[in-house]
């Protein structure tokens, strides 16, 4: 495993770490950070000073604005500097201004959130962080150097042999110092990344907007499904139950052998069939157990309703985000329906687990295979459903089977 950044480098074997370039790169990064901070303090003082003096003249405001925009420059510098100790490039959070010209650029930049985050980072590094950089660098260099020159300035105070031992210990001190230097550099870079990294509200705003509106649509469907389910339950289902009950009571009152017995029990059977029908419909619209108990329980119920026997191997620690649960549930239900309709399988297996922020689902069957998405089975619909939650679906179905539907859905909680 190679280290990708300073913090990961700390976990290398000490022998490898100490001969690697990481400690030196960290040192350079921190020294640069200190210099950058001090330069910032100087430049801001000058700009704000000039701005205050010249505020009487309108031109003074230009200096204020320049001070505000200093963050943009510092941010760019920081993104460059970070490459010293982090192989993952920090992307530019700024968008391209819509038109040419300085004024357009200015107006655009001042409206961007990223500009203000960069300014806050600049302030933080000028007021606190650069001093800490300087302190860490100084201590890390001062101690080994002091050890090294001990024989010179301690001459006459302590026996020469003692100071010689100190001088010999200098490389050890250097090795020890490598750790705090690299650690602070790594922490510093992580802070910078946290503040400066692009967020969903700067770059790709349009893409984010699209994703959001799609998510909104999915959520709206979900709300609608639940409403329909609730209405059916509170309305039609209740009345049918009551009807069935009244018919049952009527049958008790009717003497046996009466002409009404036949029609009454026929009516009751019809009510029962309607209830069963409605139940199936409602389960298709929105399974209650999914809302109440989550994906694992709902898949258990789905497996129980499957005409083809199903083995379940679902390992989920807890609830997942609603949209993930709903998408995953319907995908499995539709996949099982496909198994029952087309595969001729004797058995299906559903396995599911979450790993590294993704839900992995597999639906296997031992049927005849040869499932073809282009032939208009529900497979395209499955893929579409998975796509609405940024997931992906893969299918393997050679002629003769077995068929495997593999689904991955990101579920960052």
């Amino acid at each position: 495993m190679t280290a990708r950044n300073a913090l990961e480098a700390l976990t290398m074997r000490p022998t490898r770490f100490l001969i690697s370039s990481w400690p030196w790169r960290s040192l350079a990064y921190l020294a640069g950070g200190a210099l950058m901070g001090f330069a910032t303090v100087f430049v801001i003082s000058v700009l704000v000073g000039l701005g205050s003096i010249l505020a009487l003249v309108v031109i003074g405001f230009a200096f204020y604005i320049a001070a505000l925009l200093l963050g943009v420059a510092i941010g760019r510098l920081e993104r460059l500097r970070m490459r010293l100790i982090d192989q993952d490039v920090l992307p530019n959070p700024h968008r391209r201004p819509p038109g040419p010209g300085l004024l357009a650029w200015l107006k655009f930049r001042l409206r961007e959130q990223a500009t203000w985050r960069e300014l806050s980072y600049t302030m933080a590094s000028a007021m606190v962080l650069c001093w800490m950089d300087a302190a860490v660098v100084t201590v890390a260099l001062f101690v080994p150097v002091a050890f090294l020159f001990a024989p010179v300035y301690m001459a006459g105070e302590v026996p020469f042999i003692h100071s010689l031992v100190l001088a010999m210990a200098s490389p050890v001190a250097l090795g020890v110092a490598a750790y705090p230097v690299t650690a602070w550099a790594g922490a510093r870079a992580a802070m910078a990344r946290a503040i400066l990294a692009p967020r969903s509200d700067d770059a790709d705003a349009r893409l984010v907007e699209v994703t959001r509106s799609r998510a909104r649509l999915v959520d709206a469907f979900e709300v609608e499904r639940r409403r329909i389910e609730r209405d059916l339950h509170d309305g039609a289902q209740q009345r049918l139950v009551a009807l069935s009950m009244q018919l049952g009571l009527a049958r008790l009152e009717v003497p046996s052998g009466s002409a009404a017995t036949g029609p009454l029990s026929a009516a009751q059977n019809l009510a029962k069939e309607a209830l069963a029908e409605l139940r199936k419909l409602i389960r298709g619209v929105h399974p209650k157990v999914l809302t109440d108990r989550g994906l694992a329980a709902a898949l258990g119920e789905a497996a129980a309703h499957s005409p083809v026997p199903v083995n379940l191997d679902i390992r989920l620690a807890g609830r997942l985000p609603t949209h993930v649960e709903v998408a995953a549930y319907f995908v499995v239900v539709e996949a099982l329906a496909n198994v029952a309709k087309h595969s001729g399988a004797n058995r299906a297996t559903i396995s599911g687990f979450v790993h590294a922020g993704k839900l992995f689902l597999d639906v296997r069957d031992d049927g005849r295979g040869g499932a073809d998405p282009s032939r208009g089975s529900g497979l395209i619909g499955l893929a579409d459903r998975v796509a609405t939650v940024d997931g992906s679906m893969a299918l393997s179905s050679p002629p003769g089977g077995p068929t495997l539907v593999h689904v991955e859905i990101p579920c960052a909680t």
Partner: protein, 235 residues
């Protein structure tokens, strides 16, 4: 093919209902027409409805106040319309493991049935589909069974459980599977014999043979037997 007797009335009632006089019942159901319907029906059969309420909080309060012989509750209740009724039933049985509870559900959900069966002591529990209310006499009988401390599980649940555990059940003959389904519904040997139109001795033979095949202890007590079978089916 489901093994449970489909033609049998849905409510899985044990053979000889013990008619132990009128029961004091608390009903919890959010739909007014169904709630009043159940209350009227139970009164018609001579039972006393001490409270009929519409939500879980009122149910818990009513049980505390009236100490009924049996509770009949819907799974789904306000305010969230998820499973408050079931949660209330489980809470009540945790507080008083001997309290008989009959839960009515619009849907057959093994998950709910399992949670209910795991609650409280081996006192009466029932889990029935709401549709069974239409089978008026069987429904009232099921309630009496539950009040008498027995277990009543809707045959739909049993059917699904049978469907789920197909592997170890492969070893059973079709007739044994049928008997197992009826056992899981809580029926006595007599009732099973009547349903399948065979002698009780034949039923006993099937039962001991299937219990042996499933490595379950032979148990004369119907109730414990039901529990063992359900526990087995739930895997």
């Amino acid at each position: 093919m489901p093994a449970a007797g489909v033609s049998a009335p849905g409510a899985a009632v044990v053979g000889e209902p013990e008619r132990g006089g009128p029961l004091r019942v608390v009903i919890a159901e959010d739909g007014l027409i169904v709630r009043e319907g159940i209350a009227g029906m139970l009164r018609r059969f001579g039972h006393e409805v001490v409270a009929a309420v519409g939500d879980a909080a009122a149910l818990i309060e009513a049980v505390g106040k009236h100490k009924p012989d049996v509770v009949v509750t819907d799974v789904r209740m306000p305010p969230t319309f998820s499973d408050e009724g079931l949660q209330a039933a489980i809470a009540l049985r945790t507080a008083d493991p001997a309290l008989p509870v009959l839960v009515l559900s619009q849907y057959v959900e093994q998950t709910y049935a399992s949670e209910l069966l795991d609650s409280g002591r081996a006192a009466g529990v029932g889990y029935l589909l709401k549709d069974r209310i239409g089978e008026v006499e069987e429904f009232v009988d099921a309630m009496i069974q539950v009040a008498g401390g027995r277990t009543v599980v809707d045959q739909e649940v049993v059917r699904q459980l049978l469907g789920r555990r197909r592997d170890p059940l492969q070893r059973l003959t079709p007739r044994e599977r049928e008997v197992l389904g009826l056992m899981a519904e809580g029926r006595s040997n007599t009732a099973i014999a009547r349903t399948l139109v065979v002698t009780e001795a034949a039923v006993a033979k099937h039962i001991s043979s299937l219990l042996a095949k499933l490595d379950l202890p032979p148990d004369a007590d119907d109730h414990r037997r039901v529990r063992a079978v359900l526990a087995y089916l739930r895997g």
